[in-house]
């Protein structure tokens, strides 16, 4: 899940009887499972919420290139290097589709980039954690992409057409990434003592941050109701987190690793794993800028944006000159 803490722009869920007639008709379309398209009527709150959510998701893809980009030049074999390059390239592609989906709502990619860089828009907390060994490339693919899939698969059915369609394409690639990450972990746990140690260390560091990706506990998640009514959020945070733990715990066992949670155990009565919640104080610190890498990540994005300014400007000027020359020749 790459969208956390998306602040609702409305004042909570509006009762049907209090809706304007056009908003009631809009809600009826959503309830009937119809897709909303860019030129259709939509309430302003729906539009603004979606911009924030899709924008946050797009920014997460772009900032998310950095922790994995950190290992591209050190990938241990030609195959691993190619696979990692392809994965990070897919993420740039996801960013591109998502910015395009957001642009259909009336906000440009450049405007969204400015909002990321000046802190008005956020990205997922997970990318504020460092990648310290090669095993982290396994853990990120397996756990982070795995957690993202939990949220994104249902979003293929979200009410906004361009977002749903972007998500279909993204999900295909994300599930491939997850398998690729798992294969890295497999190689590590079947490797030398050093490699096993790296694998366990990566799991220790990424387990709770991965659980945080689903956002705060439902009881503290005040913005969900309206988003769920609009079908731009399909499941609650806790539902998705539980599903993730239930799917991941057996994989950890298969790898011969240990989840860093002494209280994690299968509960016969509920049919789910019991587990310890992440440290929410840490989560709110990371979200508010105090994660281990927040400053470095944003500085890296700012540097890339600033260093590239002359290129973007020159491309525009060249295109204008070319068009003028063509016109003069006609």
């Amino acid at each position: 899940m790459y969208a956390q803490m998306v602040k609702s722009t409305g004042k909570g869920l509006v009762a049907r009887k209090d809706m304007l007639p056009e908003d009631r008709a809009f809600q009826d379309r959503i309830d009937a499972g119809e897709k909303i398209e860019p030129k259709d009527y939509m309430p302003d709150g729906y539009r603004r919420n979606l911009i924030r959510q899709i924008g946050q998701h797009a920014h997460s893809e772009i900032v998310g290139q950095l922790p994995e980009g950190n290992w591209i030049t050190r990938a241990p074999t030609l195959e691993r290097k190619a696979n990692l390059l392809a994965k990070v390239q897919d993420e740039a592609g996801h960013g591109l589709y998502l910015y395009c989906a957001a642009e259909t709502l009336g906000v440009s990619r450049d405007e969204m980039t400015e909002m990321l860089l000046d802190g008005r828009m956020k990205y997922s907390s997970i990318f504020n954690y460092p990648t310290l060994t090669w095993a982290d490339m396994g853990a990120v693919g397996w756990l982070v992409d795995g957690a993202a899939i939990m949220n994104q698969v249902p979003l293929q059915r979200t009410s906004y057409g361009p977002y749903a369609r972007a998500m279909v394409r993204i999900c295909k690639e994300e599930s491939f990434h997850q398998r690729q990450g798992f294969h890295i972990m497999m190689a590590m746990v079947n490797g030398t003592a050093d490699q096993k140690r790296m694998a366990q260390d990566a799991l220790n560091r990424f387990w709770y941050p991965a659980l945080m990706m689903f956002g705060p506990s439902d009881k503290d998640s005040v913005h969900s109701a309206q988003s769920m009514a609009w079908r731009i959020k399909m499941n609650t945070n806790d539902e998705l987190r539980q599903k993730f733990v239930d799917e991941t715990a057996p994989q950890v066992e298969y790898l011969g690793l240990t989840i860093p949670d002494d209280d994690l155990q299968w509960n016969e009565d509920t049919g789910h794993y019991d587990f310890t919640e992440p440290d929410w104080a840490e989560f709110f610190e990371v979200i508010s800028g105090n994660g281990p890498c927040n400053v470095d990540r944003l500085n890296a994005r700012k540097k890339a944006w600033d260093d590239g300014a002359w290129v973007r400007e020159a491309m525009v000027v060249h295109a204008e000159k070319k068009a003028a020359r063509k016109q003069a020749a006609e």
């Binding site: 772009i62 994995e68 030049t73 190619a82 079947n190 490797g191 590239g308 002359w310 020159a314 000027v317």
Partner: protein
């Protein structure tokens, strides 16, 4: 066989070193489209590396793999052009270098499609499709940035001036080249010069850039005699895991 091995290392190391440099851009390019395009180029080059070094390892017959050649040789055993190992510096130099290389690779790989060695023909045929696309893109970008603003023109001119003394190494025939030509595995690199010079002149003109007059050429990369200081640093990063954990399988 020693000459064929050397010849294949040159092809593979060019792809590996440029692929690695290009991969350094992943995530930090001037625009998303450029990020995707640069990563694509890097991926193509790493793919070509696997083919060339894979064949080199077979020809050597010493039980080494493409990965062993990439990750377990030191700088003096690398056979890439010096031009490809110097740092990226900025997007302008990166694309100018790509262009100067692509403008060689397209006629070169075209000629290698007629090699007497069937494996060379196969690798060249696959690589040529990619190189043709790379050349279209790098030439177009050099023109756009040269023609763009006064600032971008100055940066592209600086990139061309910096890289120019390294370009001549492309055409420096030696004993290995002559041995390959004698058995019709590859033509002499010097034979590519007219096609390369024509492409470079056309593109520089369209890009409002001035070709440097000096014909001085650094050498030592493709023979391994004297690399730049930059290659060692690149290898220190690239090879760190293979060097730190000998024998580990990743």
């Amino acid at each position: 066989m020693q000459h064929l091995f050397e010849f294949l290392l040159r092809q593979g190391d060019n792809a590996l070193v440029l692929g690695h440099r290009t991969s350094e851009w992943c995530g930090i390019a001037p625009a998303l489209e450029e990020d995707i395009a640069l990563t694509n180029t890097a991926l193509d080059l790493i793919g070509q590396t696997q083919l060339w070094l894979g064949y080199a390892a077979e020809v050597e017959g010493a039980g080494r793999s493409a990965n062993d050649l990439a990750y377990l040789r030191d700088a003096y055993d690398f056979r890439n052009l010096l031009m490809l190992e110097v740092p990226n510096e900025d997007f302008g130099r990166t694309l100018m270098r790509q262009f100067l290389f692509d403008a060689f690779q397209v006629p070169w790989l075209t000629a290698l499609q007629n090699s007497a060695d069937q494996r060379v023909v196969e690798i060249a045929t696959k690589s040529l499709k990619e190189a043709t696309y790379h050349l279209d893109r790098s030439a177009e970008t050099v023109v756009a940035l040269g023609d763009g603003t006064a600032d971008s023109n100055a940066r592209m001119q600086a990139a061309l001036d910096y890289l120019w003394p390294y370009a001549g190494e492309l055409f420096a025939d030696d004993e290995t080249d002559r041995a390959m030509a004698d058995v019709s595995i590859a033509p002499l690199p010097s034979g590519m010069r007219p096609a390369w010079a024509a492409a470079v002149e056309d593109t520089a003109k369209a890009a409002c850039l001035k070709l440097p007059e000096s014909d001085f050429a650094h050498s030592g990369g493709r023979t391994g005699a004297r690399h730049t200081e930059h290659l060692g640093h690149m290898l220190a990063v690239m090879q760190v895991l293979q060097r730190s954990y000998p024998g580990a399988v990743w």
